[in-house]
Symmetry: C2
Subunit: 298 residues, 2 copies
């Protein structure tokens, strides 16, 4: 089955103002557009949250990457800086649901040890083939699925403004730091995505693997908290940095400051992502739990 | 030669509001004072910059750890939040030059791969023996000397308010993250310092090594910048994470965004610290350069 033709692509950096790789990669592509141009589609870039970057913060008023639900984009009472930026970006790349942009690539960093990760926020054959292509070209890439919990209208992420959209998420990198290795992995994955769109448009995709390993988001878990809202512990040292590696029932998850441990009380083997991500402390989130799944190509 | 008797010790956390290890360790010692008490001195804790921590920032108005020059502490026109906190802390632990606190331990984190590092900000036999004791008990500890560029009056660091003062600096840890491994290293080094003071006070120090390796601060170097103040490149991937490892004349230091490299043009082998530290981007500092020195005990 032929995939939809992609005519317009946007590469977005700086959705979070202290994630430097996307900010510098967007700037590089803007200054050297030949790096993002292909024969079969047009491609432009967008610097999503310049004021947050100026302040060297993730955001000024609220997380920009949680402002793109269709109902919120239409709500004139949502007026803070990021809510306003969301409306501007929706006008520029969208409007969501009838977008002038066929495919959005949103560039992000994490402090977690997640390597180069492709996050799919919707389902469908184009995403399946994209995942297979990226894994074929970049075996260390990890595919993450976070697409079937919400209808697209209810998805709050920036990349859902496009008809298609993905997140390139690379770590570990501290907030407000630019690492060459992380920047190069982000560049490499973005190039593979652009190449995939080009080859798909031209009907020239290579033979792709029929099964691709992926991690499907289940739910997040919180740091141990007291009833008064004080943190009582931290991610266990044997979990730290082990994103994507299995957590077995009964395995220690947290070390409390009194020296005791809290263990995983689920019955299913799970795979953590965003372990000890700095930006999630606001909500006391310790990590996301995932199941391992296989994407099957027809 | 007997060392000066230390009667009062203060352990300071949260001088920088987004360096979580010291903030949590100060809280732990405050809640479990038996961990810091010894027989021969009194010990208390101080949470230096609670409002910056509340804001999840290094500081609100200016870096608190640059506000402790004697002339600035006496200047009533310096009134911002951190300048005010400095005056309060000087009254509580100092006053600088005639302090009621004999020894200050100031707890810090870095995003750089510096491991557990003891930074000495003054010179003298007590510091030399402390360095030897810490290396004896914790071989992976690194001794850093930053003490002979300034008279103590001109030293702007918080720990110089005490008659004696050191910084415990542990990394790598992203800003606004708490890692168990980093917290435990900070705790271990702090315990060794407290034990040293106790044993020194009691005249019961063990036999110490006669020579201790240390790194002496020379100067900092900046990221490559354009004449209009835009960053042109980043720390070279072969330098990243290699704190304390030698940089040879001619070795690449930076990768520019155009792909070219800038090499180290000094004639002396140097040893970098604070490589790509997030907090130093404000001033476009890329790393500190040091020479290797030996502390010799008489």
């Amino acid at each position: 089955m032929a995939l939809a033709k992609i005519n317009t692509v946007a590469i977005v950096g700086g959705t979070h103002g202290n994630e430097f790789s996307g900010i510098y990669l967007e700037r590089r592509y803007r200054q050297q557009p030949e790096l993002m141009q292909r024969s079969s589609f047009s491609c432009k870039t967008l610097f999503a949250n310049p004021q947050a970057h100026e302040a060297n913060r993730r955001y000024l008023h609220s997380d920009l990457n949680r402002q793109f639900k269709t109902v919120d984009l239409a709500d004139p009472t949502l007026t803070n800086y990021e809510q306003s930026r969301a409306k501007v970006i929706n006008a520029e790349l969208g409007p969501k649901g009838a977008a002038k942009t066929d495919f959005i690539i949103d560039l992000h960093n994490t402090t977690s040890n997640m390597g180069p990760c492709l996050i799919l926020t919707q389902a469908g054959p184009l995403y399946n083939q994209l995942a297979a292509y990226v894994k074929l070209k970049m075996p260390k890439a990890v595919i993450s699925r976070d697409e079937d919990h919400f209808a697209q209208d209810d998805h709050a992420l920036l990349c859902t403004v496009g008809t298609y959209g993905v997140i390139v998420e690379v770590g570990p990198q501290p907030q407000s730091v630019l690492r060459q290795d992380v920047l190069e992995e982000m560049h490499e994955m973005t190039q593979h995505i652009l190449d995939f769109i080009e080859l798909s448009n031209l009907g020239k995709l290579p033979e792709l693997p029929k099964k691709v390993e992926a991690f499907r988001y289940l739910h997040s878990i919180k740091l141990p908290m007291s009833s008064s809202g004080e943190r009582l512990g931290m991610v266990h040292r044997n979990i730290q940095d082990r994103d994507y590696l299995p957590i077995m029932p009964g395995q220690p998850l947290f070390t409390l400051f009194d020296g005791s441990e809290i263990c995983y009380d689920g019955e299913q083997v799970v795979y953590p992502t965003f372990i000890n991500e700095a930006a999630y402390y606001d909500n006391n989130l310790a990590m996301s739990l995932n199941e391992k799944v296989w994407i099957e190509l027809n």
